[in-house]
């Protein structure tokens, strides 16, 4: 825990002595009864990297983390730190730091003793332990609270104690299991910055589990999107945001409009799809020929108003729900044939109005996969997508944006 700083970004020299070069998950599987919740997860994590596992609840991300921590035995596969196999070790011999969703602070110990617990278990001399605890508490800006009990702290302070407790042992790997999901929105943003700052200054390899794509995008060097225990895509935030591999990942990356349509033609990397009473042209994904497809559009990519002459993908929609979000309006509208559609605009629209909207064809993604229309929604504030295929959303659901 020195003042060593390491450059942000995915490519980073091993920052610490005792640091490993690679953590390798090799076909890690876990079943509960008959259900395969994690199906052959292959992942290579470089030392110092910040990797986020992203997916809705039940996608296997927490299972993966618990397998890494040693809290759950694997049903198959292996975990390797460089050439050392760790999945056969009990959690206390792996030496990974873990931050839990519910903080899991020891309620009967002061903040200082909580943070010092791992050092005490390692038999670190009292003097040194005290110095390191003080340093860790200073790092999370909790030095004045050292002698309080966790119950006397706010949620955000408690989570900072939990983070200090995990990093004070200078673990080769820090595991974070939705550490911000119990905090309110403003605090979550602050803590996100704090976690990023700690990672940049300490360079601790981190695996971070979340269902919040915004958190994942802003924190991680690399994202792993999981669905029902299967990896959907691995890549940098930019790669995933720019070119999601399938409608499911697109849904997580803000493509809240996922339409089931049929490809009728295309040229030069673009395809045209019909259905739902409209026709849309967009960027053709891998394997798009003719036939059923999923068309993905972000709400903020719609333009509202009188379309210019060269406007692409002009459609007419009926406005149903309008939410005021300050800079812009979140609108739920409906296509003539009943399909719901979400858009964000700074143009004033009214409920009941029929407006013309258009979207540049480079902002429309067309996927050959027509089956994966509806990823499960995360909690409302996360902005995770919900199903748009059914055309039966209520106003309450629309407020999820």
């Amino acid at each position: 825990m020195t003042d060593r700083t390491s450059p942000p970004g995915p490519v980073r020299a091993p920052a610490r002595e005792g640091q490993f070069t690679h953590l390798r998950l090799d076909k890690v599987s876990r079943r509960f009864g008959d259900k395969l919740v994690l199906d052959g997860l292959d992942l290579r994590i470089a030392g110092g990297e910040f990797v986020a596992l992203l997916g809705p609840s039940g996608c296997g991300k927490s299972t993966a983390l618990n397998c890494l921590a040693g809290l759950l035995p694997l049903s198959g596969g292996g975990i390797w730190l460089d050439e050392r196999r760790v999945d056969t070790l009990p959690p206390e011999r792996r030496g990974f730091g873990m931050v839990f969703q519910n903080y899991a602070l020891f309620p009967h110990m002061s903040v200082r003793r909580n943070v010092g617990f791992g050092l005490r278990m390692r038999g670190i001399a009292r003097q040194e332990a005290r110095a390191r605890v003080d340093e860790a508490l200073r790092l999370v800006q909790l030095a004045p609270y050292a002698d309080r009990l966790p119950g006397q702290l706010s949620g955000g302070q408690q989570q900072r104690v939990a983070i200090a407790r995990a990093i004070v042992i200078e673990p080769p790997l820090v595991l974070m299991d939705e550490p911000l999901s119990n905090l309110d929105a403003a605090l979550r943003l602050d803590m996100r910055t704090e976690i990023r700052r700690l990672h940049q200054s300490l360079g601790l390899t981190t695996v971070y589990v979340t269902h919040d794509q915004e958190e994942a995008l802003s924190l991680a060097d690399r994202l792993v999107v999981l669905r029902e225990g299967v990896v959907q895509q691995v890549g940098t935030p930019e790669e995933l945001y720019r070119s999601p591999a399938n409608p499911y990942v697109a849904g997580f990356m803000g493509y809240r409009n996922l339409f089931a349509m049929t490809v009728t033609g295309g040229e030069g990397g673009h395809a045209t799809a019909r259905g739902l009473g409209i026709e849309l042209t967009g960027v053709a994904g891998e394997g798009v020929g003719s036939g059923p497809a999923t068309v993905a559009i972000r709400p903020e990519d719609f333009l509202v108003g009188e379309p210019p002459a060269d406007a692409e993908n002009v459609i007419e929609v009926g406005v149903e729900v309008v939410e005021y979000h300050g800079r812009e309006l979140a609108v739920q509208a409906r296509l003539p044939e009943g399909q719901a559609l979400r858009l964000r605009t700074s143009t004033r629209v009214e409920r009941g109005e029929t407006v013309r909207v258009w979207v540049p064809k480079d902002r429309v993604l067309i996927f050959a996969d027509a089956t994966a229309i509806s990823p499960q929604p995360g909690p409302p504030q996360s902005g995770a997508p919900d199903a748009t295929g059914s055309g039966q959303e209520t106003a309450a659901e629309a407020s999820a944006s």
Binding site: E92, G95, P107, M121, A162, I169, L175
Partner: protein, 320 residues
């Protein structure tokens, strides 16, 4: 109940007092709201049955007995019964005899329940079956258990037959486990353990399992996790469990008679009170002995609860 919640619950239909509902409706909303602010509303009626029982079955008999104990049948002075009790070694020693049985029995029950409950705290295969088996002794009652123990532990019982067959002892010297201290002790263990186990198990499941996971990731092995995390959080519950078990053991009566040596080594205090009441027909003396018994229990419980007060007793983050 906080004023806020009682205020919000008061307008809701209230099954115990359907007639009162009408008067609270339009007539005097201001008064009912004012009362609700102070936590007074119809839900207080729910306390009534308990209060009636408490007064009729505990407070009145207790006060009556206390008064009776100061009105001795023989001798003079209000404290005669107490002076007599403490000056007669045969009577006085019942306190030590009972403590010598009750304290170890309660302690053993609590200590034995901890590892078993700890092992069974999570989801364990066969937990229901094991719990049921451990709880059966409660449902059988003391007397049936005592009869069974007489069959099993007597000089010609199964246990001694097995020990003789194994040449651990011989037919002339069976292991004496009946009609002495050990008979009563064993009976208290059989009947008290299920209580201790069930209580300990519920206290343990109130401790958030992620605390142990956190300790494990920080390098604590199972013993350190138990010593530093689980035990300190469990200790207040164990103190309560000990108190309840001790009260049960201290008032032991049937098994002290059936399995013990009620004239000598297991002449417990409840037998002394029974003898006074139904052998000597001296209810005043019996009341005095009962008061001594209550005082001893109170002292022990106070000591334990005082010690418990010094432990951490806040939330242990559990889901109950």
């Amino acid at each position: 109940m906080t004023p806020v919640t009682s205020a919000s619950t008061s307008p809701a239909p209230n099954p115990p007092a359907p007639t009162a509902e009408r008067s609270g409706g339009t007539g005097r909303p201001a008064l009912s709201h004012r009362l609700a602010e102070r936590g007074i509303d119809r839900t207080l009626l729910l306390l009534l049955p308990g209060l009636v029982f408490l007064i009729l079955l505990f407070i009145y008999p207790f006060v009556y007995g206390l008064g009776l104990s100061f009105q001795p049948m023989h001798g003079s002075g209000a404290l005669y019964n107490y002076q007599k009790f403490f000056s007669d070694p045969y009577e006085r020693d019942t306190i030590w005899i009972t403590l010598k049985i009750g304290l170890p029995a309660a302690l053993i029950n609590v200590l034995a329940s901890v590892p078993i409950a700890y092992r069974l705290r999570g989801r364990v295969r066969g937990k229901r079956a094991l719990t049921t088996a451990l709880v059966i002794p409660i449902t059988l009652g003391t007397v049936l258990t005592a009869i069974g123990m007489i069959e099993y532990f007597s000089g010609t019982g199964w246990l001694n037959k097995i020990l003789i067959a194994l040449h651990i002892t011989d037919i002339d010297h069976p292991v004496p486990l009946l009609h002495n201290y050990w008979g009563v002790m064993l009976s208290l263990l059989v009947s008290g353990f299920p209580f201790a186990f069930l209580l300990t198990l519920s206290y343990l499941s109130g401790i958030d399992p992620s605390l142990e996971s956190a300790a494990a990731t920080l390098g604590a092995g199972w013993w350190q996790r138990f010593r530093d995390i689980v035990f300190p959080l469990l200790a207040p519950g164990l103190a309560m469990t000990f108190c309840l078990n001790f009260v049960l053991a201290f008032s032991v009566f049937p098994s002290a008679v059936l399995l013990g040596d009620p004239e000598r080594s297991t002449h417990v205090i409840s037998i002394a009170a029974y003898d006074a009441a139904y052998q000597e027909y001296d209810y005043s003396k019996a009341s005095a002995i009962a008061m001594v018994m209550a005082a001893v229990m109170l002292i022990v419980i106070s000591i334990v609860l005082f010690a418990r007060g010094r432990l951490y007793r806040g939330s242990s983050g559990g889901k109950g």
